[in-house]
C-alpha cells in the first residue's frame, strides 16, 4: 500500500532525526567547552593563568639594603643578601640566617625600622618572621623569610631603602617550637 510505504519512510526520517538529536546533546559538551574557551568565560581546559602584577613600575630601580642587629642576645643574625635591586611593585623575598649560640632556649622578637622612616608605609609585608615571636632552642639555626612589595607610589626622590631588623629577647615566653612557619 502506498500510504504504508510513505508512513514507513516518514518514521525512518523522524527516527534518524531523534537519534541525531540524542547525539546533539553530547555534541553540546565540546561545543560548550569551545564557547567557554573562545569567549574566555569559565575556562575549563587551561589552568587559571598566573596572577600578573600590573602595578610594577619598570621604569624605576630602587636598592633595598638589609641590616640585622641583636640586642643583648647571644644570637647570630645576618641577612643572606646584603642588598637587592628591584622595581617598585615587584614581589620580593629575602631571607635571614639566625642562630642561637647560647646554652639555653630563648624567645626573640624582631622589630623593624626603616631608613628613610617615611618609606615604612610603602613597604607592604606579606610574610615576615617579625610577625611572630621566634622560639629558638639552644644551638638551633634557622633561615627566616621576609616577603614584601614596595608599592609604586614610593616618592620619586627615594632610591634606597634600608630595612633594619633588631632581635629582642622576650623573657618568660614559651620556648616550645612554633606550630608553623619559621622552621626551615
Amino acid at each position: 500500500m502506498k500510504n504504508e510505504r510513505a508512513n514507513r519512510r516518514m518514521m525512518t526520517r523522524l527516527s534518524i532525526f531523534a537519534i541525531a538529536m540524542f547525539g546533539f546533546g553530547f555534541a553540546l559538551v565540546p561545543f560548550y567547552e569551545k564557547i567557554c574557551q573562545v569567549t574566555g568565560i569559565n575556562d575549563l581546559i587551561k589552568p587559571a593563568a598566573a596572577v600578573v602584577n600590573t602595578q610594577v613600575d619598570k621604569s624605576r630601580w630602587i636598592t633595598l639594603e638589609f641590616d640585622a642587629n641583636t640586642r643583648g642576645m647571644d644570637w647570630d643574625f645576618n641577612p643572606v643578601q646584603r642588598s637587592v635591586r628591584v622595581h617598585p611593585g615587584e614581589m620580593i623575598q629575602i631571607e635571614y640566617d639566625v642562630r642561637n649560640n647560647s646554652e639555653k632556649a630563648m624567645v626573640g622578637q624582631a622589630i623593624v625600622s626603616y631608613g628613610p622612616r617615611y618609606a615604612a608605609s610603602h613597604v607592604k609585608k606579606l610574610e615576615c618572621f617579625c610577625f611572630k615571636m621566634q622560639p629558638m632552642q639552644a644551638g638551633e639555626a634557622k633561615r627566616m623569610p621576609v616577603q614584601f612589595v614596595v608599592d609604586a607610589t614610593l616618592p620619586a626622590e627615594v632610591n634606597t631603602i634600608t630595612l633594619s631588623y633588631t632581635f629582642f629577647e622576650v623573657e618568660g615566653a614559651s620556648t616550645a617550637p612554633l606550630k608553623s612557619g619559621g622552621k626551615s
Binding site: 500510504n3 508512513n7 516518514m10 523522524l14 531523534a18 537519534i19 540524542f22 546533546g25 553540546l28 559538551v29
Partner: protein, 528 residues
C-alpha cells in the same frame, strides 16, 4: 452525511472488539489507547497531587512537623516529575490519540502497534518513579531538574529516576513520530493542512518539539548516569567537567518542554472557545504562525532559567530580549481568543468556563513570566516562591484547566453521555477559587524572599503559607469531585447528541455519532 458512515461501520462496531483485559493490553485502537492515556494520566495526577498535599501539609506551619527534610525534598522532586511526565503530557497525548484521527478523517493512527508500545511503556516508568521512594536512602531529593552535582551524588533512587526518564522519553518520541506521520500522511481528501482544526496543528508542532528535545534530555540523564557509575566527568569539575553544562543541556530540553505542555493546551482552547462563541476562530492562519514561532523561539531562550548560574552580561541581555520576544506571538494568540468571543453568542457551559479560566490565569502566568525574564528582577526572585507561583499559573491554570475544558468538551463524544452540568460548574468554581487561594499568595511569599524547595520557613511567612495550604487541600479535594463526575457520566449520564455543541464544527462532531464508533472513517470523508 454522517448517517451513511454510521451504517458503513455499524456491522463491525462490536464484532471485532476483543473483550476482557486483553482488549486493553493488546489494543491498537486509537480510541482505546487514548482512553488508557487519559486514565493513566488521571491516576498519576492523583499520585502527584498526593505528593503536593504532603508538601503543603508540611508547609502549613513553620518548623518541621510531619516529614523529614529528605522526604520533603523527594516529594518536591517527584511531584514535579510525575505531574509533568506522568500527568500532563500523557493527558494531552490521550487527547491526540482520540481526536487527531477523527479530526483529520483518518481510520486510526499511522502506526497502531507502536502506539500500543508508547502507552505501555508508561506504567513501568511510573512504577520506577514510585519505587524510587523505597530505594536505600529514599527518593532522590534533587529537584525535578535533576541538577548536577547533586544528582551525580544522590543515592540509588537517582538511577531508577534516570531509567524512568529514558523510558518516558522513548514513549514520547514514539508517540510523536506517530502523530507527525498521521497528520502529514493520513489526512482525508480535501483536508489541507490549513483546514485542519487548530488542535491538530498544535499537536503537529508539539510533536516536532518532542522529537527534537526528548533525545537531548535522554542524553543529559545518560551523562549523569555515566558520571555516576562509569567514571566519566561530564559534570564533575574535579575531572575537568562542569556542572553548569548540565543546566545548559537540561534547559535546552526544558524550555521547549514547557511549550510541549502549553501548546496542546492552546489547541484545546482554540477548539472550545469558538464552539461556545458560535463563531469560527478569529485569525486561524495567524494562530498557526504564532504557534510555530513560539515553538522556534523556545529553542533560543533556555538560559533565562539560569541567569544566576554565571554568564556574561551580553548573554544575559540576549536571553532577556529573546524571552521578551516570545510574549509577541503569545499575545497574538490571546488577542485572537478574545477576538473570537467578540460579538459571539456566548454561553458558559463547563468547557467554556474552564477555557475562560485558562485564558485569564494563563495570561496572568504569562505576565509573571515576563517579570521573571528581566535579568535584574530574576536575580532577586530566582528560586523563590514567585517562580513557583508563576509556573503553577501556566501549568495548572494553563495546561490542567485546558485539559479539563477538553475533557468536558469531548466527554459526550467519547462516552455518548452527557456530564452533569451543575456538578461540572461546581468543579470549575471550586478549582478556580482554590487554585488562586493556593498560588496567588505565593507571589507575595516569593517577593518577600521565601525560597522554594525548603521544608521550613521564617515566621514572617506563616500566614500566607497557611492560606496557601488551605487552598491546596481544597483544590485537591475538588479534583475528587471531577473523578466522581466522570464516573457518573460514564455509568449514568444522559444520552448525548451526535453534535452536542452546535458551535463545534470539526469532523468528529459533524460526521460521527456519539459515542464515536470503535472504528471510524475507514472510508475517508471528503472535506470541501
Amino acid at each position: 452525511m454522517y448517517a451513511a458512515h454510521t451504517n458503513d461501520h455499524g456491522h463491525d462496531e462490536h464484532s471485532h472488539k476483543p473483550s476482557g483485559i486483553m482488549r486493553w493490553v493488546q489494543s491498537t485502537n486509537h480510541k482505546d489507547i487514548g482512553t488508557m492515556y487519559l486514565w493513566f494520566s488521571f491516576a498519576m495526577f492523583l499520585v502527584g497531587g498526593a505528593m503536593a498535599m504532603i508538601i503543603r501539609a508540611e508547609l502549613f506551619q513553620p518548623g518541621l512537623q510531619i516529614v523529614k527534610p529528605e522526604f520533603f525534598n523527594s516529594m518536591t522532586t517527584y511531584h514535579g516529575l510525575i505531574m509533568v511526565f506522568g500527568a500532563i503530557m500523557p493527558a494531552f497525548v490521550g487527547f491526540a490519540n482520540w481526536l487527531i484521527p477523527m479530526q483529520i478523517g483518518a481510520p486510526d493512527m499511522a502506526f497502531p502497534r507502536m502506539n500500543n508500545l508508547s502507552f505501555w511503556l508508561l506504567p513501568p516508568a511510573a512504577l520506577l518513579l514510585i519505587a524510587a521512594q523505597f530505594a536505600p536512602g529514599g527518593g532522590a531529593g534533587v529537584g525535578w531538574t535533576l541538577y548536577a552535582p547533586l544528582s551525580t551524588q544522590a543515592g540509588p533512587a537517582m538511577d531508577l529516576t534516570i531509567f524512568a526518564i529514558h523510558i518516558l522519553g522513548m514513549s514520547s518520541i514514539m508517540g510523536s513520530i506517530n502523530i507527525i506521520t498521521t497528520i502529514l500522511n493520513m489526512r482525508a481528501p480535501g483536508m489541507t493542512l490549513m483546514k485542519m482544526p487548530l488542535f491538530c496543528w498544535t499537536w503537529l508542532i508539539t510533536a516536532y518539539l518532542l522529537v527534537a528535545v526528548m533525545p537531548v534530555l535522554a542524553g543529559a540523564v545518560t551523562m549523569t548516569l555515566t558520571d555516576r557509575h562509569f567514571g566519566t566527568h561530564f559534570f564533575n569539575a574535579a575531572g575537568g567537567g562542569d556542572p553548569v553544562l548540565y543546566q545548559h543541556i537540561f534547559w535546552f530540553f526544558g524550555h521547549p518542554e514547557v511549550y510541549v505542555i502549553a501548546i496542546p493546551a492552546f489547541g484545546v482552547v482554540s477548539q472550545v472557545i469558538p464552539a461556545f462563541s458560535r463563531k469560527p476562530l478569529f485569525g486561524y492562519a495567524s494562530m498557526v504562525y504564532a504557534t510555530a514561532s513560539i515553538a522556534i523561539l523556545s529553542f533560543m531562550v533556555w538560559a533565562h532559567h539560569m541567569y544566576t548560574a554565571g554568564m556574561p552580561v551580553e548573554a544575559q541581555l540576549y536571553f532577556m530580549y529573546a524571552t521578551v520576544l516570545i510574549a509577541v506571538p503569545t499575545g497574538v494568540k490571546v488577542f485572537n481568543w478574545v477576538a473570537t468571543m467578540w460579538k459571539g453568542s456566548l454561553t458558559f457551559e463547563t468547557p467554556m468556563l474552564f477555557a475562560l479560566g485558562f485564558l485569564f490565569l494563563f495570561t496572568l502566568g504569562g505576565f509573571t513570566g515576563l517579570v521573571l525574564s528581566i535579568v535584574p528582577v530574576d536575580i532577586q526572585l530566582h528560586d523563590t516562591y514567585y517562580v513557583v507561583a508563576h509556573f503553577h499559573y501556566v501549568m495548572v491554570a494553563g495546561a490542567l484547566f485546558s485539559a479539563f475544558a477538553g475533557i468536558y468538551f469531548w466527554l459526550p463524544k467519547w462516552t455518548g453521555r452527557m456530564y452533569n452540568e451543575t456538578l461540572g460548574k461546581w468543579h470549575f468554581w471550586l478549582s478556580l477559587v482554590f487554585f488562586n487561594v493556593t498560588f496567588f499568595v505565593q507571589h507575595f511569599l516569593g517577593l518577600a524572599g521565601m525560597p522554594r524547595r525548603i521544608p521550613d520557613y521564617s515566621l514572617q511567612f506563616a500566614e500566607f503559607n497557611m492560606i496557601s495550604s488551605i487552598g491546596a487541600f481544597g483544590f485537591g479535594l475538588s479534583q475528587l469531585l471531577f473523578l466522581y463526575i466522570v464516573i457518573k457520566t460514564i455509568t449514568s449520564g444522559e444520552k448525548a447528541a451526535d453534535r452536542q455543541w452546535e458551535g463545534a464544527d470539526s469532523l468528529e462532531w459533524t460526521h460521527l455519532p456519539s459515542p464515536a464508533p470503535w472504528h471510524s472513517f475507514e472510508t475517508p470523508p471528503v472535506v470541501k
